[in-house]
């Protein structure tokens, strides 16, 4: 029992956007839910007008440590995560060294526990050094203290069909999932932006939708053939949504993710040649944005993953072709999804909880995240003010990355409080303190 996490009485929060209720959080769990609750010595939080949601789980985060601590560290990235409403993040494997051994994933896991802002779940590389040639020791990473369940060469596609087949088969031994970065490399050599009307005018090498869709089509057929679990990272095209819908209709065990930026931004923004809009996969067209929203709303796309990718400013203050790909996202995800999905009437807050928490925890096999908001459940909770409006300023963020494509935009929704296993990591919309016993508390999957 984590005695030091204290007692909090949250009054009048709309659970999943429903009727207001009181929640009593004590010793890391939701002790009681009801109306007119009271508790001696409890810190009272007036949650009138706020929505209570399960702590968000990001299936796709780049924390950059080890190796690129000039871009982000586990400490700064998880502070950003907590502020954004997350209680767990999956740290992608493309660090330096690559997270392709038990040693590296345990290092990232330990750094996450020491930081104490969220659960850090390392993702293991599928192939040694992300080189796409030889399987990494997936079993060793699965058996390590980090208990890796998600494997990905994200940033690079596992394009060799035999290697992809083997990876899909092999991870069945420990209930793992291969998260594919779907990008046919030959069709995207030197690619700079979505191939279409805008690339034609701008003279930037096109990145055709078919390069993504052909890999997804191949992979869902492979997954069906070997009876494995496949996750598709950052789906960005209408065609990809169609293929995944087709696969799910046939019972293929595939899940898919969409980023907040692909739910809102289009390749028209590239006309500025400002590399803050350069990302992999690239921003697509409005028709793609609409298809992605529809796919997320109808469950074809299971989760929102941020693909939070901080970069030092010199990697963005340059020519488009020279610039690094990627955008920050942890601190804007909730607002962007509210703007694109909830304020448009496409989804409810209950749907939001599914795509940002419940389904994400299930994909990553996190047993104590993404749980229902019920008495006895772990107190991984957030309180959101859906009526708040704020203007995005990258220099006010906790992430070290200043590369937010939403800079200067006014967005709805603000995370007022984040409870991470009963402890408020965020209170009053600002960082509070890390979980006091993070280093001593068993984290993540049972």
């Amino acid at each position: 029992m984590a005695a030091n996490t204290g007692t909090y009485l949250i009054q009048g929060a709309a659970i999943l956007g429903g009727e207001p209720a009181d929640l009593l959080v004590r010793d890391g769990i939701i002790a009681e839910i009801g109306s007119g609750l009271s508790a001696d010595g409890a810190t009272v939080i007036d949650a009138t007008g706020l929505v209570a949601l399960p702590g968000m789980v990001d299936v796709h985060t780049h924390l950059r440590e080890p190796g690129r601590e000039d871009a982000e560290t586990v400490e700064t990235g998880t502070r950003a995560a907590a502020l954004g409403g997350y209680t767990a993040v999956h740290a992608m494997a493309n660090s330096t060294p690559v997270a392709d051994t038990a040693g590296v994933v345990e290092q990232v896991y330990t750094l996450g526990r020491a930081a104490g802002w969220v659960d850090v779940r390392p993702v293991g590389a599928v192939t040694v050094g992300l080189a796409g040639e030889q399987l990494a020791e997936l079993g060793a990473m699965a058996d390590s203290r980090a208990r890796v369940r998600m494997f990905s060469d994200d940033g690079i596609c596992v394009h060799d069909p035999v290697l992809m087949r083997r990876a899909l088969e092999y991870v069945k031994a420990f209930d793992g999932v291969v998260a594919q970065h779907a990008q046919e490399p030959r069709l995207t050599a030197g690619a700079q932006m979505n191939e279409g009307d805008v690339s034609a005018v701008l003279g930037l090498t096109g990145w055709p939708a078919v390069a993504e869709e052909s890999i997804i089509a191949r992979d869902v057929l492979l997954a069906r053939h070997v009876g494995s679990r496949l996750h598709v990272c950052h789906v960005s095209t209408a065609g990809s949504v169609e293929i995944i819908r087709w696969a799910k209709e046939r019972g293929i065990d595939v899940t898919a993710e969409v980023t907040p930026h692909h739910l809102l931004l289009t390749d028209d923004l590239v006309r500025s040649y400002d590399p803050v809009f350069k990302v992999n996969p690239p921003l697509r067209t409005d028709a793609d944005v609409q298809a992605l929203r529809a796919g997320l709303a109808d469950g074809t796309i299971d989760v929102v993953g941020t693909d939070h990718a901080p970069h030092p400013s010199e990697h963005k203050e340059c020519e488009w072709a020279q610039a690094a790909m990627g955008m920050t996202g942890l601190e804007t995800a909730l607002s962007v999804v509210q703007h694109a999905m909830i304020d448009t009437g496409l989804m409810t807050w209950a749907d939001f909880a599914r795509v940002t928490s419940t389904a994400a925890a299930k994909i990553g096999r996190l047993s104590d995240q993404g749980r229902p908001i019920e008495a006895g459940e772990p107190a991984n909770l957030i309180l959101v003010d859906p009526a708040a409006r704020w203007t995005v300023d990258p220099f006010q963020m906790a992430t070290m990355g200043r590369n937010s494509p939403f800079k200067g935009r006014e967005l709805p929704g603000k995370v007022v409080a984040t409870f991470f296993r009963g402890h408020p990591t965020v209170l009053g919309g600002a960082l509070n303190t890390p979980h006091p016993e993070a280093a001593a508390t068993p984290a993540g999957a049972a």
Partner: protein, 342 residues
């Protein structure tokens, strides 16, 4: 007028103003003393991240005829990993007091970055960026066409546009900044443009451009052409499956001797043959075509100096008035570039 970055959003009135000013500048080139004092004391930097001797010396001649001080800065490479960044280079030039930067860069959009950021306050002229645009090339092409078109009409060039002129542009449109700048500018000036290329060398999305597209050069010629512009085929395309062989390319899309004869047979006595140079003789254009009286290749080079003088003069002379008439045509409004170009 602040920058000249593209022709996509260049208004008709500004285009005409540059062409008319270039006519005045051209008169200077015919004098014994080819020099005006207009830009005395101003500094023009030729910032070239890519080799291009002809474009650089054309801008250099233009600036010198206007009495500007010229600094040539050849900065090959420029990546954050290999050396000084574009930002640092720009700030260095700014600190040295450059009034105008003429930039040639292999990366599409590099001139837009210079103009959009606070790295440098100078006027930016795009001297060719990647596969995006080469506005002064399109302006010198239009200048050349306009003189020809006005001569046929028996009128002066001053104030004229290219209404009704049929222009075919043949070659590697996909990788051509010259083709892009020409398509936008010629449409603005009222010409009818047909692009002729193998389907592999046309960009996805070309169907939205304000022009016709053909895969058949002979048919295009038979339909009637007043100016035939051939584009250079880059050597590196030849091994990347864009077309099977240079011979096949030349037969189907090159302006060879048979097609030169066809102009005569079709009775198109006034059709000119254009090429931005440098030419691959025997590939996209035959020697006989390049050297024929129809060829305007050398006139284009000569006119290039006049057009660049006009651009430098208008950007640096402090003339900031924006003519109200003649907004850019509809396609530009539907697909705006975020930076104003002039």
């Amino acid at each position: 007028m602040k920058h000249l970055l593209s022709t996509e959003d260049l208004s008709l009135s500004n285009a005409i103003r540059i062409l008319d000013t270039a006519e005045e500048m051209s008169a200077v080139g015919e004098r014994e003393v080819k020099k005006l004092p207009a830009l005395r004391g101003r500094t023009v930097v030729n910032l070239f991240f890519e080799d291009s001797t002809r474009t650089r010396i054309s801008f250099e001649a233009a600036a010198k005829r206007l009495s500007a001080d010229v600094i040539n800065f050849a900065a090959k490479g420029s990546s954050v990993s290999k050396g000084e960044s574009l930002k640092d280079t720009a700030q260095t030039l700014s600190a040295m007091g450059a009034d105008a930067v003429v930039i040639r860069h292999w990366a599409s959009g590099a001139p837009h970055r210079l103009a959009a950021t606070d790295w440098i306050d100078a006027a930016v002229i795009n001297a060719g960026d990647g596969t995006h645009e080469h506005p002064t090339q399109a302006l010198l092409d239009a200048f050349t066409m306009r003189r020809h078109w006005a001569r046929l009409a028996g009128t002066g060039s001053e104030g004229a546009d290219l209404k009704g002129m049929r222009v075919a542009i043949a070659g590697d449109v996909l990788h051509s900044r010259v083709a892009r700048s020409n398509v936008w500018l010629l449409r603005t000036l009222g010409a009818e443009v047909t692009l002729v290329a193998p389907p592999t060398l046309l960009p996805v999305g070309v169907e939205k451009w304000p022009c016709s597209v053909s895969y058949d050069l002979d048919q295009t010629l038979a339909n009637g052409v007043d100016a035939m512009m051939m584009l250079r085929v880059q050597g590196e395309r030849m091994n990347a499956s864009f077309f099977p062989s240079t011979r096949e390319y030349s037969r189907r899309w090159g302006f060879d001797d048979n097609r030169l004869r066809a102009l005569d047979d079709l009775g198109m006595t006034d059709t000119i043959i254009m090429h931005p140079g440098p030419m691959n003789r025997g590939l996209e254009i035959s020697a006989a075509a390049a050297d024929s009286p129809r060829s305007t290749v050398l006139a284009q080079v000569r006119n290039g100096v006049s057009v660049r003088m006009a651009a430098l003069y208008l950007l640096l002379s402090g003339d900031t008035r924006e003519p109200a008439a003649h907004r850019a045509p509809a396609y530009a409004a539907a697909a705006p570039s975020t930076k104003e170009s002039i």
